[in-house]
């Protein structure tokens, strides 16, 4: 794998960078804005704080949040990522192959993973403490991840870490401002100054997708001596629908004008200068490669000499669109692997603006244009099959988004031999009892034998009330496939009434599966002039992270018992057992007496007062004329005795039936 080597190289780079820059704490804030093909706008806030190593600089900090520093030191965290997400990233429209989507598209709810720098046997304990700490820090129920039924230890399916990685998700966690506020508290300027001023709560939470993320990388405990301190990266990714009252009516058609927007229309606020504590404060507008080439081709068609030029009053106009503020620099992508062509970044420096002269960037489209975002090689969907509450099947389907085109592969020349790898990582809670032997793989609709397609497989089956089921699959698929699908059968479990959540009939969530494509790397290299102070966001985008996508969260309805009647069930069941015990004891005990009685009546006919009385009594009870027992024939006596017994039994059965009927009536 090239990734670790590259990561080490990158770390070296960062190391030298930090050496050259100086060993100060630094904080930088950046915002990336990107028009999306479906008339929406992506806003990606990126805040990065870095603290130099404790060994050389001591434990006191000016900018770096103390809480995070203590967290790292207490639990010996090597890397950690926590994300709060609402909504689902639309891979088809918003792209799946760029660094933004593979790093910041997260499953709904809370996702937490952490790599610890502790011995194997202490990892779980560290994880449990960490979940509680984060829960307190972010006002979220992350402490539910403490239970061993919710987190798992992926081996290689999720990230390329061995051993000390723990991964857990809470798909149903509601994310709101109470999670954002503590997150903002970690920033040196909070939301009082700088780019975070834009985070107007109503406009952020009105968006289609909202994901706040906290990523920690620490080399404090690295044994190799490559100690560069802690890097805290906080990102907030929102997909917003700009609401310009002017041109909002035309929605569906391809040739419609893309939505024009400005910062004030998106967020309802303007940027009043940078956070003074930030080393750099930049805003980028990124145009997709596909969009750029589309615009270029349109320009060629029209042949109008409408070059990029500075308009009057400071705005900046292109053939296709107009920016209300002229960018400080234009950065082009180099070494583009996407077929659309190189994408373009417009960089704005916020430090040139102040409260008196606020920064309000607007993008106005001039011509209708349609484009698409770079797509992941396969789009993944996951769904449930089957009906009823007894069993079902999970299916993951992988399909190229545009069936006709296929997709770019590392070696497209030898098409018949060519193949690529797909890793699937799936965690299933224990009450969904997956039969892993029923794994079936279909390629182009034809069932394949599992060893042909699966190169590597690691299954740790779920254990009831102890651990979730984890499946890591490495698939090797041929290049030109039209579709691939995995299915797994499962039985639905039945829980104790205490284990159901308050809204039991809503169903239970199966967390998203992670589908990654290790052969593909999402990285965008931008050629920047001054390499000395490279923007952390662009550096981040250059990192060769694997293309990663999350599937949908599945909602599995489970059968519920009747929550209202534990007492009834206990009493009625105990009644039946008492009936069993009593009648058995009775029949065992009474046999002796009757037999003796019978023998007595046989032996001495004079002493038969008691049985006669008894039978008289029964006769009265049964409302029949009493017949004197004919003791000479055995049959009648035995029959009468047994019928007595059976009548008693019948009474008991009727009683129980009446109780049951009453219970049913009552339970209605």
């Amino acid at each position: 794998m090239a990734f670790p080597r590259f990561a080490i190289l990158f770390l070296f780079l960062l190391f030298f960078l930090s050496q050259s820059i100086g060993k100060e704490e630094e904080f930088s804030e950046e915002l990336l804005l990107k028009p999306l093909p479906d008339r929406k706008v992506l806003a990606h806030f990126h805040f990065q704080s870095r603290v130099p190593p404790t060994e050389t600089h001591g434990p006191h900090h000016r900018l770096f949040p103390k809480a995070i520093y203590q967290l790292v030191h207490k639990f010996h965290i090597r890397e950690m990522e926590l994300s709060f997400t609402q909504g689902r990233w639309n891979y088809e429209r918003w792209g799946g192959n760029d660094p933004i989507s593979s790093n910041n598209a997260k499953p709904p709810g809370v996702e937490l993973w952490a790599v610890f720098d502790v011995p194997q046997d202490q990892v779980d304990a560290s994880w449990k403490n960490l979940t509680h700490t984060l829960s307190g820090l972010f006002c979220a129920s992350i402490n539910f991840l403490e239970s061993s039924t919710t987190y798992s230890a992926p081996d290689w399916g999720f990230r390329q870490f061995a051993g000390n990685l723990r991964y857990g998700t809470l798909p149903r966690e509601a994310v709101c401002t109470e999670n954002l506020t503590p997150w903002l508290k970690l920033l040196p300027c909070r939301d009082k100054a700088g780019l975070s001023v834009l985070m107007d709560r109503p406009s952020i939470y009105r968006g289609y997708y909202h994901s706040q993320r906290l990523h920690l990388t620490s080399t404090e405990f690295d044994s190799t001596g490559l100690n560069m301190g802690i890097v805290l990266e906080q990102t907030l990714t929102v997909v917003l629908q700009p609401n310009n009252p002017g041109n909002s009516m035309t929605y569906s058609s391809d040739s419609t004008l893309p939505q024009s927007w400005s910062l004030s229309s998106l967020f309802g606020r303007k940027v009043g200068g940078k956070c003074v504590l930030a080393k750099s404060s930049n805003i980028f507008v990124q145009l997709e490669g596909d969009l750029v080439s589309e615009l270029n081709s349109r320009k060629k068609e029209n042949e109008r000499d409408d070059t990029d030029n500075l308009d009057f009053e400071g705005s900046w106009s292109n053939f296709g669109f107009e920016l209300s503020v002229s960018p400080d620099s234009v950065i082009n992508e180099i070494n583009s692997v996407h077929k659309g062509g190189p994408s373009v970044m417009y960089k704005f420096l916020v430090e040139n603006y102040s409260d008196s002269k606020p920064f309000d960037l607007g993008l106005m489209w001039k011509i209708p244009v349609a484009w698409s975002c770079p797509q992941a090689p396969l789009q993944d969907n996951r769904f449930l099959m089957g009906s009823g509450n007894e069993r079902g099947a999970i299916a993951i389907s992988l399909k190229p988004i545009k069936q006709s085109e296929g997709f770019q592969t590392p070696d497209i020349n030898n098409r018949d031999k060519c193949s690529f790898h797909v890793n699937v990582f799936q965690v299933v809670p224990w009450y969904v009892k997956v039969y892993y032997h029923t794994l079936q793989i279909f390629v182009d609709g034809k069932p394949q034998s599992v060893p042909d397609v699966v190169t590597k497989m690691r299954v740790s089956p779920s254990e009831d009330k102890v651990s979730p089921g984890v499946m890591e699959l490495a698939l090797k698929l041929p290049c030109g496939i039209m579709s691939a699908a995995l299915t797994l059968d499962f039985d639905k479990g039945f829980l104790h009434i205490d284990e159901y959540p308050p809204d039991a009939n809503q169903g239970f969530d199966i967390p998203s599966a992670v589908v990654s494509f290790p052969d593909f790397r999402a990285s965008v290299n931008f050629l920047e002039d001054a390499s000395s102070n490279k923007s952390p966001l662009l550096v981040k985008m250059q990192e060769r992270s694997p293309v990663l996508s999350y599937t949908e969260v599945l909602l599995v309805p489970l059968t519920t018992p009747d929550f209202s009647m534990p007492y009834n069930v206990i009493t009625i069941t105990c009644t039946v057992f008492a009936l069993y015990f009593g009648s058995l004891l009775n029949v065992l005990r009474r046999r002796m007496g009757e037999e003796e009685r019978l023998l007595k009546s046989k032996a001495a006919k004079k002493n038969e007062q008691f049985p006669v009385l008894l039978s008289k009594l029964y006769a009265k009870l049964r409302g029949r004329p009493w017949e004197p027992p004919q003791s000479s024939t055995s049959t009648s006596s035995s029959s009468s005795s047994s019928s007595l017994l059976s009548s008693k039994l019948l009474i008991k059965v009727v009683l129980v039936a009446a109780v049951a009927a009453g219970w049913q009536y009552y339970s209605r």
Partner: protein, 519 residues
């Protein structure tokens, strides 16, 4: 009379042929049913496949073992590792789908929800279970033969020839075997690929071994049955009684009484010949009731040996997966602490789904002690009829066990047919007033229970209480059947006493007459 005799002889001639034809017909019926697993889909019924007997779980366990994991990882498989290595290879799937169409986003998969196993393996599997069923029936039949011989002997020793004459109408074991083979519950659990036919087979093996006094066989069956599903461990009592007293010992009291009567007879009659005859008779009848310790000691030794053997085999097969301790935890521990709360025909699943966690251990103990509690009283009461005792034990266990299935029901129904005395008396006196009620109850429950299950699980219109109510009714029925049969047994003993007294009096009268005429 002559005509009747010829008729009976005809019947006798016809019977074996008829038996075999019926038996084979049942086997063929099973095979036909097994050929259409997708249409019937019994293997997914909660009545058939419990967490212990489910074949699908066995397949999962085998898969886990093949991929070098513990078969017990993942709370799926809870059976014996030996069963896994015997039946496991048959579960490997072959790819034989015909109509799978995954062209669209929605995968149109007809294979789903039906038996996913490839056809040939599935047939071999059902063949194994059909053979197990057939062998069980054969064992029941030969046990029945054995019992009848012993019974006739004991009746003769009691001098109850009248009963004997009537009993000639019924052929031993055949009916019991046919009842077992044609019981719809047996057929369902056989076709539904649950492992209960194999459990039934080893239980029956043990009883057969005990009846025919093949001590190693009895010990083998008992050890294996205990190993496969914990509950047959209680069958050690009837097995020891069978070995100690012989297959059919008349009640001790009866013999004592008879002995007394004969003694009194002795005193009254002056004829020496007759006295000696009586004494002989008395000796004969007293003899079999002596408890012979020798086979019991042998049984213990053999059982220890077999247990050791089985444990060694298990230890070898689970050596790298946590050893025997893990195995016991995952099999017996799973049985005793009712962990899986999936609905079945018992009542414990709902009880433990609803009961407060604080009381869980208490009730676990109560329910399991309930089984053990009744062992001794029943053994004391019914020690003269070990086969009936075995029936009662199995019925009690099937009511109180944590994961009951209809396979247990099938077994105790078969054993019920086995008891000679019971059948004869049913025929003679037709005294089972409750039998109709019980029959209707069983039919009703077995019809209602799938309906309620469907309403609750599949349609979502019903409620858990609906299904639980049928489980409750089923438990009540089992209580009824245990109760009524034991009480019926009691009346039978009275009948026997009365009969024996009557026969004795007749005998005495005849003797007196003889002596009078001689005089």
């Amino acid at each position: 009379m002559e005509e009747r005799e010829s008729e009976t002889s005809n019947k006798k001639k016809n019977k074996p042929w008829a038996f075999w034809s019926w038996a084979f017909a049942s086997v063929i019926f099973r095979l036909i049913l097994a050929y259409f697993p997708r249409n019937l889909n019994f293997s997914a019924r909660p009545e058939v496949s419990t967490p212990l007997t489910s074949f699908r779980r066995l397949a999962e366990g085998y898969w886990l073992k093949q991929s070098s994991m513990s078969p017990y990882a993942g709370s799926m498989y809870h059976g014996s590792p030996l069963l896994l290595s015997i039946l496991g290879p048959l579960t490997v799937r072959r790819y034989l789908w015909t109509s799978v169409n995954c062209s669209d986003v929605k995968i149109v998969c007809r294979y789903f929800m039906d038996g996913n196993e490839g056809l040939p393996n599935q047939l071999i599997c059902s063949l194994v279970f059909v053979i197990a069923d057939f062998v069980t029936a054969m064992l029941i039949r030969s046990t029945g033969l054995n019992l009848q011989m012993a019974y006739n002997q004991s009746l003769k020793s009691l001098g109850l020839v009248r009963l004997l004459e009537n009993s000639e109408l019924i052929l031993s074991g055949d009916i019991a075997a046919l009842v077992y083979l044609w019981n719809p519950f047996t057929i369902i659990s056989c076709v539904g690929l649950s492992t209960s036919p194999i459990e039934n087979l080893v239980i029956m093996l043990s009883l057969y071994g005990a009846c025919t006094r093949r001590v190693p066989l009895a010990a083998f069956g008992w050890v294996l049955a205990t190993h496969l599903s914990l509950y047959p461990a209680i069958l050690i009592v009837p097995v020891i009684l069978l070995l100690g007293y012989g297959p059919d010992a008349p009640p001790r009291k009866l013999l004592l009484q008879k002995f007394r009567e004969s003694c009194s007879c002795d005193c009254s009659s002056q004829d020496k010949e007759q006295t000696s005859l009586h004494k002989e008779l008395a000796n004969q009848s007293v003899q079999p009731m002596l408890f012979s310790w020798k086979p019991v000691v042998f049984f213990t030794l053999w059982a220890c040996m077999w247990a050791f053997y089985v444990l060694v085999l298990c230890a070898i097969s689970v050596k790298q997966y946590g050893g025997l301790r893990e195995m016991f935890k995952r099999t017996y521990g799973f049985i005793l602490t009712v962990e899986d709360l999936a609905p079945n025909i018992g009542v414990l699943w709902y009880f433990f789904a609803e009961v407060f966690d604080f009381f869980r251990n208490f009730f676990l103990i109560v329910f399991h002690v309930n089984i053990l509690f009744m062992l001794l009283p029943l053994a004391i009461r019914l020690n003269h009829r070990p086969c009936f005792l075995a029936f009662v034990y199995i019925a009690i266990a099937s009511m109180l066990k944590s994961y009951p299935s209809v396979g247990d029901l099938a077994l105790y129904m078969g054993l019920l047919g086995l008891d000679q005395l019971l059948r004869i008396s049913i025929q003679l006196y037709a005294d089972m007033q409750l039998s109709f009620f019980l029959f209707c109850g069983y039919v009703g429950v077995s019809l209602l229970s799938p309906v309620m299950h469907n309403l609750w699980i599949w349609r979502g219109t019903g409620n858990a209480n609906f299904y639980f109510a049928t489980a409750m009714a089923y438990a009540c029925l089992q209580v009824c059947i245990i109760f009524s049969f034991i009480s019926f047994m009691k009346t039978l003993t009275i009948i026997l006493v009365v009969e024996s007294v009557g026969a004795m009096l007749n005998h005495d009268r005849k003797l007196r007459k003889l002596s009078a005429t001689a005089a």
